[in-house]
Amino acid sequence: MDFEEIGAWLEKGADTAATEEDTVEGPTLRERFLKTMAFETDTPIPNFEFGYWDKTLEVWREQGMPAHVVDEASAYAYFGIENWAVLSCNPNPMPVCKHEILRETEDRIIYRDHYGCVAEINRYGDRSIPHYLEYPIKDRASWEAFREKAMDPAHPDRWVGFEDCVARLQHTTQPIGVHAGSLMGVPRNLIGFEQIATMPYEDPELLTDIINSFGECIVAVLEKALPRIQVDLAMGWEDICFNSGPILPPDYIREVVGPWYARISALLRQHGCLTYTTDTDGNIWPIVDIFLDNGLDTMFPVEVHAGTDPVDLREKYGKDIKIWGGVCKMRIAEDKAAIDREMERLRPCVEEGGFIPTMDHRVPANITYANYLYYLDRKRDLFNIGGMPQY
């Protein structure tokens, strides 16, 4: 996930009307979500998924998927994937400049985004994650200039569409989500991977100042938003784990980031929101305890090939941990037997509750259309999953 994904997530707040209808009879999707995350297993589990890489739908159309399935919304409708609504309020930094294309080559587009990052993407083929070339935060002076423009918790643009969204969601049957911001992932994108990774050792004061500023914005936004409507889930975005663990030292995360998770989770619970998660990607084992100790109780997307196996998480933490994701995309890319084995492997954990099985990241194009359909059907058959597909 990158800035564009965060933007898409936030934009869901302005586009929930189209998906508000429930897709199964009986308990509403919202009720099913709350029961699932409360380890109650008497209703169908929400049929959530992570989404698709750019090329996947294009490849699937060549493999027989109907031509009218052209984007995530039409794919979700076709496959019977359910969705949650999102409140229109933004805890992230405000734009500091205009998004502009700086130059184009035969195969690349080089642009400056609205945070001042210069990046390049492929003109053709995979465009999922940009390659960053220049970062806006280079030192304390550039951070202070950025903070001045971007980090005002009271900035009115954080609330564009909020009142309409609150009114629209009063009687929704979907779970209501709120964006719980980013304490490390967005700072990483603004500072640079190698630079931020060594800051806890070389300039911890500056990094802590940056993280605290992000935390203050998140708390300020949630304090204003949460009293207005009952929120069911809060999802942050970090993307800070690789196969080899986190990009910041776990001790530093515990000391500096942990207290913000604790403060945010306390605020959420005070307002009855009992599911708090953040998108980490990768191998989270070195920091799971930090999440759980500070009230971030739901792991997402639990990437199996990176080393985060949901079965192992559940074995170690029992019902202290909730899981969202955890179906290994590598197995789904193989064959029906491998898909069956993967689903059977997860079945006992899913049946315990507190587990929404989804692919453990966006669906890549090496998973065939036939395999994906088989995966969805098996998920529905084995796990009592909701949703009404059109195929």
Partner: protein, 225 residues
């Protein structure tokens, strides 16, 4: 300080990421000389540059790499060690140029065509450099032709291919084939988040490594064989 003592100290400072005297990290070594000063001192004392490379930098990087493989330390620790080693390598550069110090070999690395990601590739580059290899970094979105050109330019080299995405890792096969067509004996190592040993075998690469240390271990075995 005896040769062995200073080499052990260089190894320790490399492992712990102590760049130089002014560096605040690690706190328990604050105010003490780091890899930069220790390398200069060792050279001034007449220590063989090859010993500094093998018993100092390689020893220190090897220790941190092994800890990284076991999740005992993390990316920041690896990066700090690489920074410290780089400070010392700058001191050794004239000795490489004069032939007094010798690299273990040449390693050509790049992210394959269509893929713009470089974090994993950069970590491998640092570790392999720390293992005493000369590294030719071809960058991101590297075509098979560019790899072939580099292989021709550096006879006897080993090659590392990186990819982050399942959609781009398929481009590794084409690159492996192109390299093997012009130089069948060139060892090709592949790595990246979605890769597996099975995929490595399928595309005809020589080795798969799940982490930077694994790449270095393979290269060590390869040169020893």
């Amino acid at each position: 300080m005896a040769d062995n003592d200073i080499l052990a100290r260089i190894a320790l400072c490399t492992e712990r990421g102590k760049i130089n005297n002014a560096a605040p990290y690690p706190p328990d070594l604050k105010g003490e000389d780091g890899v930069d000063e220790l390398t200069e001192k060792a050279l001034n004392d007449g220590v063989d540059p090859n010993d500094i490379l093998t018993q100092g930098f390689m020893e220190g990087m090897g220790r941190v790499g092994k800890k990284f493989s076991k999740n005992e330390v993390f990316v920041p620790d690896l990066l700090m060690a690489a920074k410290a080693m780089t400070a010392g390598m700058i001191r050794l550069k004239p000795h490489f140029e004069s032939g007094a110090a010798k690299h273990k070999g040449t390693f050509v690395i790049g992210t394959v065509r269509g893929d713009l990601h470089d974090i994993g590739k950069n970590l491998v580059r640092m570790m392999v450099e720390g293992g005493g290899w000369q590294v030719i970094d071809l960058g991101v979105d590297t075509s098979p032709e560019k790899f072939v050109e580099a292989v021709k330019e550096h006879p006897g080299c080993a090659v590392g291919l990186s990819a982050l995405l399942t959609t781009t890792m398929v481009n590794m096969e084409e690159t492996v084939k192109a390299i093997k067509a012009v130089s069948p004996s060139t060892p090709v190592i592949v790595g990246g988040a979605p890769l597996t040993q099975e995929f490595c075998d399928k595309i005809g690469a020589d080795a798969y490594s799940a982490d930077p240390q694994g790449a270095l271990d393979y290269l060590a075995d390869y040169t020893a064989a």
